[in-house]
Amino acid sequence: MSLLRRLVVPTYLSQALTRFSCKNNVDRLFSALFLPKNAYRMVSTTTTKFDLMEFFDDKKNWGEGTVRTGRSWTKDELRLKSNTDIHKLWYILLKEKNMLLTMEQACKDESELFPNPERIDKVAESMTNLEEVVRERNRAYYLLETGTTGERPGAEEENFLGLPEYSQFNEYPVPKEENKDYLKAKSEEPVVHPSEKAWFLVRLNEKRIKQKRWERREARKGVKEIIEHFPDVDRELIKEKFPDINVERVIERTNNRHLGNIKPKTFKWNRC
């Protein structure tokens, strides 16, 4: 008995079942006529398929260790399908997602293992791919008809620190000049003096230059280590992998290390 796995029956599911099995109007009608119980089985007000049990997986998968599924839909596969098919597929995926999330919660409630949780990711990936294909088709239509993408507009603007920032636009019924709330919100934004802004940008630029220099130095060190460890390495490949670095110069420096640091030929103080 201990080897048999207990079926996952969530507590709130059994409550729902008892609530739905109470006598409905049809039951009351036929019971009033004193008919035998099986005589009115053919009369049914609800179909068996469209009930709350659709939020749950097939009963045969309850308590299973693994539920095998294939991979998610790729964009190339979705591009072969008509719009109506894609529309139907969206709702199939949405129902599957709801089912999986319900089953996950049900398993959690019953302290059971939810089999193959990667199914949720597979469905999510399919849904993002599907949305992208739909947007692709709509974009093509709008570019052909109106010359714009037809998507939500946006623009890159300077923020209060003087940095460029892309933001998506919102839709309003009135133009900007007549929109009091919008103008009020704009006026309440932080204001930075231009001199302070310039001060900040100079230092930010300095930081970025230093970071870039550090990255280049690290890459040069990496090239040097590779050449030291593997003298027969494919030089052309290293040049392709590190396009910013003068590989020949690094090799020369690693080969002539006994010469020590080479002093630059001309050296002047920077006076400014």
Binding site: T69, G70, W73, L80, N83, H87, N138, E171
Partner: protein, 220 residues
């Protein structure tokens, strides 16, 4: 160690810290306890030789060029591309003690395979004459990318075990389940381009007719 993430110093947060050390790929998988033990302390980063094409797959027949098994042929059992390593089944082995480290316990010894570098410690074997060869990737007339032996010019077929996944041994032997869409349904083409958006076509197919004209709106 570099702190990658730290919770803010406020009372609504728990005091948690994620430290990012210098990790290295080893023969153990990164989610195992052995790997965690190996990466307990920060170790010097490993220098890995950059290579242009990866030629070795699980199930390939290779010849070992170094060590006590020099000249022997074997089958590739594991590939660790991050370190340019392959493991050859039953070759290049050493004895490894496993079991309790306490005094008095003898433990026992197992034969354990050591990794081999693909750059200069192993060579692929050409199946046409069972001798080592260098290979090049070329395209067949059907557009398929294949390995070609540079010595004999023969194609060295890719082993199917090199492309196993968790779900199947080979894509052809995958059994379609109840939840899977059948392959012929997926491949069927029923897209006909029309001068309509997605929404327009769905509305037409559902018989929804919209006469209302949207009011002018402003985007900013």
């Amino acid at each position: 160690m570099k702190v990658e993430f730290q919770t803010p110093n406020r009372r609504e947060y728990q005091n948690k810290k994620l430290e990012q050390g210098v990790y290295r790929f080893t023969a153990n998988r990164p989610w195992t306890d052995e790997w965690k033990r190996q990466n307990d302390k920060a170790r010097r980063p490993v220098v890995v030789e950059p290579i242009r094409d990866w030629n070795f797959f699980r199930g390939d027949r290779v010849e070992v060029l170094v060590g006590r098994d020099r000249g022997k042929h074997g089958i590739v059992s594991q590939v660790i591309q991050e370190r340019n390593w392959i493991f050859v089944a039953g070759l290049n082995t050493h004895l490894r003690r496993v079991g309790s480290r306490q005094e008095g316990s003898a433990g026992f010894y197992v034969k354990s395979e050591a990794p081999l570098l693909v750059t200069n410690q192993v060579a692929l074997v050409d199946p046409s004459d069972n001798k080592t060869t260098k290979v090049e990737w070329r395209f067949t007339e059907d557009g398929e990318r294949v390995r070609v032996s540079l010595r004999t010019g023969r194609i060295i077929p890719l082993p199917p075990s090199g492309f196993e996944t968790w779900d199947y041994k080979t894509p052809e032997t995958y059994l379609e389940g109840d939840k899977d869409t059948k392959a012929d349904v997926v491949k069927a083409v029923n897209f006909r381009p029309t001068l309509k958006t997605f929404e327009m076509e769905i509305m037409e197919s559902m018989g929804i007719i919209e006469h209302r004209v949207p009011k002018k709106s402003y985007w900013y």
